[in-house]
């Protein structure tokens, strides 16, 4: 029997072997689809967690308490390193630091830097002086 003639293909298509092969292929396609959906759901959940943590950290950076603000900035630093932070998320983190750095630069120019930690020596100050 020539395997490539029409009758041969018809016979193969009706055989239990072909049925089994088709079932395996269908199951593989379904499995790949489920895996992809699961992966997307997991990534969406992680992304959602990233935003919740960013929201919490951003709230901290707006507190009156210095230690809370420092915690917020440190958490934002960690979140910026996260693989779940894409360009848009990192831009948001950048925006959170802009105001503080702009004001600090102005304070440097005016020579009115506030040293708030005994670990820093007067010699470490970048051109400013203790107020």
């Amino acid at each position: 029997m020539d395997l490539f003639d029409a009758a041969g293909w018809r016979e193969f298509a009706l055989s239990p072997g072909f049925g089994g092969l088709a079932a395996v292929i269908a199951a593989s396609i379904a499995y790949a689809g489920v895996r992809r959906t699961t992966r997307h759901q997991r990534e969406a959940a992680r992304k959602q967690q990233w935003w919740e943590r960013a929201h919490w950290a951003l709230d901290l950076t707006l507190q009156d308490d210095l230690e809370a603000r420092l915690v917020g900035l440190n958490v934002l630093d960690a979140l910026a390193e996260s693989g779940y932070a894409a360009e848009h998320e990192i831009e948001l983190v950048l925006a959170a630091t802009e105001s503080a750095l702009d004001r600090y630069e102005d304070q440097l120019a005016a020579g009115s830097v506030l040293i708030d930690d005994a670990h820093f020596d007067q010699d470490d100050m970048p051109g400013g002086q203790e107020s």
Partner: protein, 53 residues
Amino acid sequence: MTADVSSPQGRQVTQREAIAAARVRVTADRRLKRTTPAWIVDLANKGRTAGQR
């Protein structure tokens, strides 16, 4: 010494806060493949040096 100093332009930024913000800025700029101003990099490095003391 820790103190909150208010000014008409807003709360005064302390050096520790500025260093923490600088570290965030350096991380974010690195992730976005942007250049960070030298004074901000110096500030971030100052924080790392102080933390090792």
